[in-house]
């Protein structure tokens, strides 16, 4: 699915060069559940952005299937994100002025489908995360766990092959955390997704098939 070879990512910050990823080699198979752990600022989110076609490496190659993400134009990358990759963020990142269903529909907006079909699929996605009765609620009217469920529905509504979750339980209490992880794990099993989760939480890491550790931009397999 993914093949990263010699990936390096550097940023310029206040006249300093920050190495976020250093010579990373990584292979992720289709349908794998991978957890990436590491300290804050270690390069976890940068790795996720490389996988999510949100950024290009300074050096090295990121292959998704047979496409090199570092060489594709903005439009093509946006198209890949629109059809193949679902994102779940720590802060949920819902549009505050849109209802739960409209937020889910936003994930389908780039696809050429009718508004009726979009509405139907968004409603189904909300049902799949147990929030059919909250479809017309604004994010501010939902709890943190419910907001994250809406975000998961938005990520899954386009039926992606990959879901990338950046600290999906970072803003949730323990009980809700377990509910969300159960939900993600269930959907992963049910849909045969490739699921990459970035987290600090060892409890989540223990449930993964494969664990990666990243520190100072250097990636390693955790034992």
């Amino acid at each position: 699915m993914y093949q990263l070879t010699g990936v390096t990512k550097t940023y310029q910050s206040r006249r300093k060069t920050v190495v976020a990823l250093s010579d990373v080699d990584l292979s992720i198979r289709e349908g794998e559940l991978v957890v990436v752990q590491g300290p804050t600022g270690g390069g976890k989110s940068t790795l996720l952005q490389m996988l999510g076609a949100l950024d290009r490496p300074t050096d090295g190659t990121v292959l998704l299937g047979d496409r090199s993400l570092g060489t594709l134009g903005d439009g093509r990358l946006a198209s890949i994100r629109a059809t193949e990759i679902g994102f779940v963020f720590q802060g949920f990142n819902l549009i505050p002025t849109l209802t739960a269903r409209e937020n889910v529909e936003a994930g389908l907006a780039p696809l050429k489908i009718s508004s009726a079909e979009r509405r139907r699929r968004a409603t189904e996605a909300l049902e799949s995360v147990g929030l059919a009765d909250r479809a017309t609620h604004l994010p501010a009217e939902l709890s943190g766990g419910q907001q994250q469920r809406v975000a998961i529905a938005r990520a899954l509504v386009k039926e992606p092959t990959v879901v990338l979750a950046d600290e999906p339980t970072g803003n949730l209490d323990e009980k809700t955390r377990d509910e969300i992880i159960d939900l993600l794990e269930g959907l992963w099993r049910e849909r045969g997704l490739t699921l990459v989760i970035v987290t600090h939480d060892s409890a989540i890491a223990k449930r993964a098939q494969r664990r990666l550790q990243i520190e100072d931009g250097v990636l390693s397999e955790a034992v």
């Binding site: 989110s45 946006a78 002025t97």
Partner: protein, 481 residues
């Protein structure tokens, strides 16, 4: 999705929408108001000029005055008039017809020369005159000094019972009109209120048409006679200005040939009225006329408008200067507010746009969304502006300010203030007309307002969209993190 998101954003961020809409609305409203008042002032100027030059006149030709008017006094011989030996006085009466003060008659051949200029579709000419009548009683020679009433004399003498004098001077303006050619000229801007106007068949006849206001003050009516320079004229009609707020150009109108003969200004005219084939040809025709008639003063309607003074002129100046700059300033401020709010909105929504890009929204889609929101805010501002503008214009029209317009050109065509005894020194007072300012509302102004609002919205949207397009999704999400 575009529409839903747009409506949700605008209704969800009411304060921002309201501030932009009000800012844009005030600017657009001011533009409508200034345009309306400006059109009203232009209409008022046009009304004033039409009352003098008639409908359809594009250019006027006159001869600039080179020196002050000469002596226009009355000289009487010792045996003139009728003597009252018992009272020791002599009664005198004399009437004369001269070129109006400030005008310089010139050869009528200029009319045919002007007509020959390419692009001139019609010409007409008038001879502006002033009829002055002296009547009075003065002491006979030997009982008191002889009388000589001249320019600048007082308007009446007084009997003092000791050989003093008593006299009065009446004057009114007379316009010799080319009755055979009345397509343009002062008589096109009048309506007949009684009798008839001058006809082509009136050539050589002693007939006169009076301004109805003058006729009323002089107690004259159709069928009565008026003496001009010792000749009786039959009143055949009364006319009034087609505008309710303006007077006609002259107190009276007589056939041009009769006016020329009676005043001794044979084959002379004082103003030529020229109609151009099209407005775009006016500058060229003006130039050609200036070449053909090098000594003449050739003025366009626009130049004549600048001769209007009084509060109308002040209003015109205010609209043209203060109004225009104020509109531009407020419009600029409104555009700036819209742009700053849009940029600030994009900055505040960095996470939102970063997220949308992360879930696959293209740059174009994000830009379209931002631009669409700004455009709708602009349109709402336009609607608010139209409402503000219409309310402003309604207030102006309900207040209906009265503006006075004094036309310097009236000195070449004296008139307007009715009869009455006036002194020789009355230097043909300028025609002052009171005009009620009425600000019209036109579709073009409404379209201009909507256009400005859309332009403002598009400008803000383009700048905001450009900012949103520059957001890299990874950087946007990183900055939030």
């Amino acid at each position: 999705m575009f529409g839903t998101y747009l409506i949700r954003e605008l209704s969800g961020r009411r304060r921002q929408t309201l501030i932009i809409a009000i800012g844009m609305g005030l600017a657009v409203g001011l533009v409508i108001l200034v345009n309306g008042v400006s059109a009203g002032v232009r209409n008022a100027q046009s009304t004033v000029l039409q009352s003098i030059y008639g409908v359809g006149t594009d250019i006027t030709i006159s001869q600039p005055a080179t020196q002050a008017a000469g002596n226009r006094g009355f000289d009487f011989g010792g045996a003139e008039g009728s003597e009252n030996a018992a009272a020791g006085s002599r009664t005198l009466a004399r009437s004369r017809l001269d070129a109006a003060i400030g005008t310089v008659p010139f050869s009528v051949t200029a009319v045919s020369k002007a007509r020959a200029v390419s692009g001139v579709t019609a010409t007409s000419a008038t001879l502006a005159l002033q009829s002055t009548t002296f009547t009075g009683t003065i002491p006979t020679p030997g009982t008191a000094p002889g009388a000589h009433a001249g320019g600048g004399a007082t308007t009446g003498g007084g009997t003092d019972g000791a050989g003093g004098s008593s006299f009065s001077v009446a004057s009114f303006s007379v316009s010799g009109s080319d009755v055979s050619n009345q397509k343009i000229g002062p008589l096109t801007a009048v309506k007949v209120t009684a009798g008839r106007t001058l006809l082509a068949s009136d050539v050589g006849k002693n007939v006169i048409v009076l301004d109805s206001a003058y006729a009323a003050t002089a107690s004259l009516a159709v069928g009565k006679t008026v003496a001009i320079a010792g000749t009786d004229f039959t009143v055949v009609g009364l006319v009034a200005s087609t505008s309710t707020s303006a007077s006609t150009a002259s107190n009276s109108y007589i056939p041009l040939d009769v006016a020329q003969k009676l005043s001794g200004l044979t084959a002379q005219v004082s103003t030529i009225y020229v109609k151009a084939a099209s407005a775009s040809e006016i500058p060229r025709i003006q130039s050609a006329l200036t070449t053909t008639l090098p000594k003449a003063k050739v003025s366009t309607q626009a130049q004549l408008a600048s001769t209007v003074s009084g509060s109308l002129s002040t209003a015109s100046g205010l609209v043209a200067n203060l109004g225009l700059w104020l509109s531009a300033l407020v419009l600029g401020a409104a555009f700036l507010i819209a742009i700053l709010f849009t940029i600030s909105g994009v900055t505040r929504r960095t996470r939102e746009f970063g997220t949308l890009k992360a879930i696959g929204w293209s740059n174009a889609r994000v830009v379209r969304q931002v631009a669409g929101e700004s455009l709708i805010q602009g349109i709402i501002g336009g609607a608010v502006g139209i409402a503000i503008g219409l309310i402003g214009i309604a207030i102006v029209n309900s207040v209906a300010p009265r503006l006075s317009a004094t036309t310097a050109v009236a000195r070449t065509l004296p008139g307007g203030d009715g009869a009455g005894d006036r002194g020789f020194g009355r230097a043909a007072a300028a025609l002052t007309t009171n005009i009620t300012l009425s600000a019209p509302i036109t579709i073009s102004v409404i379209l201009l307002a909507v256009g400005l609002a859309i332009a403002g919205g598009l400008l803000a949207g383009a700048i905001g969209g450009w900012r949103a397009a520059r957001l890299r999704p990874a950087e946007a999400l990183r900055s939030i993190a």
